[in-house]
Symmetry: C2
Subunit: 361 residues, 2 copies
């Protein structure tokens, strides 16, 4: 499991190989390291929906390659036909999951790449789609490392950190967002200790984050999500750090269910609450978080664990996959272009403008 | 499973039968209804520790019968020897779980009953111990129904209620504390709807509360613990109601892990947060909640579900079974003697005095 890939990791989250996308099947972690090969865009959409791959940035990367696959597999013999096939594949990909805006951002980006003038053959369009998918992936890695560097001054030595869900290499294809911040602090010798929210219902913290932290050698303790207040009150916590699936113009942030509770608990204890995400997670067209669509997932995620039924037969369940944390509870939003502080209506557009003038790519 | 016992329930939480205590094995619910028979006080202590029976009032009832069993099984042939055996059994029972004060209260109560003057034979002492255990159990039922009646004015029609852990008949041997309040509102035609916190790590909400609510015909929806804020923000919640394991003199309340988070989330939304418990759960000798011992349970409760391992091998876990909710977050404490409001240093002793003058028994 160890030592076979770049950057010291023994697993490959997502790989373009022989004209197909190979994804680590995150549903099987931490027990088994197995890969799923997606040979067409529909398979990529299915993998996103079924959470073979998850995490907003990683979903964006996967969607980019999904369109590249659509271009490769298309039987169209002229650019117009290929673009029609891409538009159709884009619809399928967009319908896979509703909340993470990176999905829509990546799809739009590849569509824009193939809409450029001068691409007057099927072959050129295919090259353009694949090149854009590769670019999204490569930028992701650099962007994550930059977020980690920006955040360093916010992380005290021996910081006790609560982290929710999974935001590491598994969620981004490389390095990580919130977990990238923790990793940067670790690599800088700050000696962080991570309290890992297990993150019901799908247990991404207990399954994925604990696994990644072990691989990275970062000390950590798994807790149930509802223990965060007790840990703050008794052990003490210096900061909370989470990723994000969509950030509205006012800073309201959709992220994994439980993020909002953690933010409220942090506020009650005066603990800083940081959101980490690339600019591609911003959706400045939305004025506030109530406009963000929240995915409701199957009841079975709550009623069953590892295939075993927990609840009485037929019980009613509400299973929102995400919640919205109002901006007022967010201390800062860390992006590759720098750190945004309230008021986010002003600071977020400034970061976008800064990135436009000096792009990460 | 239905229709065989008094009060319309098809199960018996705890029964004195043929000189032994029969307990419903709550670890197997909701899938199997099986019973464990405890023939001596050590078996009762084991059942409490292993959570065959749980819930502060039910633990108290079980401990009372544990001492009755110690009296029956003792081979002492004089009152002094029997009292020594009871003192020894009391130590074993007290060591079974540390947080719920009802355990200690019930043990002390049976010991006081057998310390009364005039009990000058082994037979009289055995009768006194068993009579006191029966009395604790019978009072429990009446006390719970009185709490439900006291709380009625606090419950609006069609109240949307978040409930944490399990506080029903399973937790009390009859009717319930917080769930008793919900039941009283239901029986009064108020039509409550309950959001059932699943209550990690042992899932008492998903397993037990959902099961009891179904048996009672009370509409309910199971949610993961960390979804409470999202539900308050989007669906709307009228009140939260929880039980308690120990209440200090200033109103600080130890209860199942996650209670404190829920209280903080409720406060942020202006949602009333009610604690329900019998006076036997008060520990007015403790000035505040930091003096309440918090049980740390095995990591396996977090790392494994239904015997399946979730986390990576050997992961570090913190598993506090309880937390302390500071009194400032508690809207009111509902007891059989009435409702206490802040400042609890004044209102709780007043209720105790009222109960002394007009006891529930």
């Amino acid at each position: 499991m160890r030592g076979v890939s770049e950057r010291g990791r023994g697993y490959r989250v997502l790989t373009w190989r022989d004209g197909a996308v190979e994804m680590l099947d995150q549903r099987l972690l931490p027990h088994r390291v197995e890969y799923v090969t997606c040979a067409d865009s529909r398979a990529v959409a299915d993998a996103i929906r079924e959470m073979v791959i998850r995490g907003a940035p990683a979903i964006g990367v996967a969607a980019g390659y999904g369109l590249a696959l659509a271009a490769l597999r298309s039987e169209a013999d002229d650019p117009a036909g290929l673009r029609r096939d891409l538009a159709s594949a884009a619809e399928t990909l967009r319908a896979s999951r509703p909340t993470a805006v990176n999905l829509f951002w990546a799809v739009d980006r590849v569509l824009a790449a193939v809409a450029r003038p001068g691409l007057d053959s099927v072959a050129l369009l295919r090259d353009a789609a694949l090149a854009e998918a590769h670019a999204i992936r490569e930028e992701n890695a650099r962007v994550c490392e930059r977020m980690g560097q920006h955040a360093l001054p916010l992380i005290p030595d021996r910081a006790r950190i609560i982290h929710h869900c999974n935001t590491g290499a598994l969620a981004t294809t490389d390095y990580g967002t919130a977990l990238g911040v923790i990793r940067a602090a670790h690599e800088a010798g700050k000696g962080p200790h991570v309290y890992v929210d297990e993150t019901r219902p799908r247990l991404q913290g207990a399954r994925l984050t604990a696994w990644e932290l072990r691989e990275l050698g970062i000390p950590h303790t798994v807790i149930v999500d509802s223990a965060s207040g007790h840990i703050m009150r008794t052990a003490g916590v210096d900061l909370c750090v989470v990723g994000c699936d969509r950030v509205a113009a006012n800073g309201d942030t959709a992220n994994k269910i439980g993020t909002y509770n953690l933010a409220l608990v942090a506020r009650a204890h005066g603990v800083p609450f940081y959101v980490v995400g690339p600019l591609s997670t911003l959706d400045l067209a939305l004025p506030h978080g109530d406009a963000i669509p929240i995915e409701e997932r199957a009841a079975r995620e709550v009623t069953h664990i590892e295939g075993e039924q927990i609840t009485p037969d037929g019980v009613a369940v509400a299973n929102p996959a995400f919640d919205v944390t109002p901006a007022e509870y967010i201390t800062a939003i860390i992006t590759e272009a720098g750190i945004a502080y309230p008021p986010y209506e002003e600071s977020l557009p400034q970061l976008v403008e800064a990135a436009r003038l000096q792009p990460a790519r």
